[in-house]
């Protein structure tokens, strides 16, 4: 009876918050509404894990960094400027964390990303880790289609700054202005870098394009 009541209260809280936009939720969260903050987490957790994963190519690292994104957001909740879009702010934090990680790796000179990707599906730890069910399955996450695999492989060859822009534009499907706010790169430079990334990827993926009646 009691658990049913709690469940009902939680459902009502979710309903109440589901209609609010991100900025309104942040304002509630800033005033101490924990449910509002968790609603934001629910909205953005998949996006963050995916986005960071596309930059660092390591699932465990991506989930840890995505957690860190929400922790940082929470720590700096009082500094939130609601003139900025919430998504811009959260992607900016995620970008900074991912690039810090890439810089750390570069200093440590770890194995190349492609090796990490290859080792991911049959990772010994995956069989013992309760989170294993959510790791990108080799067939589902990487080998579901030959073209997807080829794109992911080609993306890894792009310099991190170019890859980040391509991921934000084509995978996260954000407009140029928002990408500019997230990355601090001017729109003109963005267009040039995206152009170069597309030229590079076209060259690598020539065989996967259906050349119709041009």
């Amino acid at each position: 009876m009691q658990s049913a009541t709690i469940e009902m209260i939680q459902t009502n809280a979710c309903d109440r918050l589901a209609h609010l936009d991100d900025n309104a939720l942040m304002l509630f969260a800033r005033n101490g509404d924990g449910d509002a903050y968790m609603e934001l987490v629910r909205r953005y957790k998949q996006l963050m894990v995916n986005y960071v994963y596309r930059l660092v190519w390591d699932y465990d690292c991506a989930t840890d960094l995505a957690q860190e994104v929400f922790v940082r957001l929470f720590r700096n909740i009082d500094r939130y400027d609601n003139r900025l879009k919430f998504s811009t702010w959260i992607y900016k934090i995620a970008t900074n964390l991912a690039f810090d990680e890439l810089r750390r790796r570069k200093r440590r000179q770890t194995q190349p990303f492609s090796r990490e990707i290859e080792s991911l599906p049959d990772d010994h730890a995956a069989r013992h880790d309760p989170r294993a069910a959510h790791r990108p399955d080799p067939e589902e996450a990487l080998l579901r289609s030959e073209a997807a695999q080829a794109i992911l492989a080609a993306l890894q060859e792009l310099p991190a700054e170019h890859r980040q822009l391509f991921v934000l534009k084509e995978m996260e499907q954000l407009p140029l202005e928002e990408i500019s706010h997230i990355t601090g790169v001017k729109v003109g430079t963005l267009k040039s870098r995206l152009f170069r990334s597309r030229e590079f990827l076209r060259e690598r993926l020539t065989g996967y394009f259906q050349r119709g009646q041009a």
Binding site: Y37, K45, V49, P130, H134, I151, K191, L194
Partner: protein, 186 residues
């Protein structure tokens, strides 16, 4: 515009946010340029393929783990701000440094440091130009281009022998260096 400049406009062309005149210019160029038409077509396919790439899912316990981490942050916020160790070390170092400077100044004022003669000879001259009054005549000997005279160093109160080129003026005394200056007080 050359082909590259048209290709840079792909995103705005695709999103329909180009100025109508530019949009028309791009469209006309695409009618005439097979290579750019191919680029725009490939870019469109690339976008569709990228958007269709499999996405990874956040683990089930993502929110639970986060809740416990946020609990720690809340707890930290409730506690009075703790002094970070590096701030403490910096403060302690500053206090020690200030104490050292104060002690040094205090003891130096009570017991002025007696500079050994050998070291004095290597020090730059400390003789202020306005008090240089040669005690002994300072005329260069015939055939010599050096003058020698004895004077008193007002800083130490000792008599010093000054050797310097005859062409120097009194103001040049302040630039004299060690070899010119010898303690003759003993």
């Amino acid at each position: 515009m050359n082909c590259e400049r048209y290709r840079r406009l792909y995103d705005e062309y695709d999103a329909g946010t180009l100025h109508p005149q530019d949009y028309e210019a791009v469209r006309r160029h695409l009618d005439d340029c097979l290579s750019c038409r191919q680029f725009f077509q490939d870019a469109g396919q690339l976008a569709r393929l990228a958007a269709a790439c499999p996405r990874v899912a956040a683990p089930d316990d993502f929110e639970d783990r986060l809740r416990s981490r946020l609990g720690v942050v809340r707890e930290e916020r409730r506690r009075p701000p703790a002094l970070h160790w590096h701030v403490g070390v910096a403060l302690a170092a500053s206090v020690l440094l200030a104490l050292g400077i104060w002690l040094g100044t205090y003891f130096q004022s009570r017991h002025p440091i007696d500079v050994p003669d050998r070291r004095l000879a290597q020090q730059p001259a400390t003789i202020p130009t306005e008090v240089v009054i040669p005690v002994e005549p300072a005329q260069p000997a015939a055939g010599e281009d050096q003058i020698r005279f004895v004077t008193r160093d007002p800083a130490t109160g000792r008599e010093v022998l000054v050797e310097m080129p005859a062409s120097y003026t009194v103001q040049d005394l302040s630039t004299l260096e060690g070899p010119y200056l010898m303690d003759v007080s003993h």
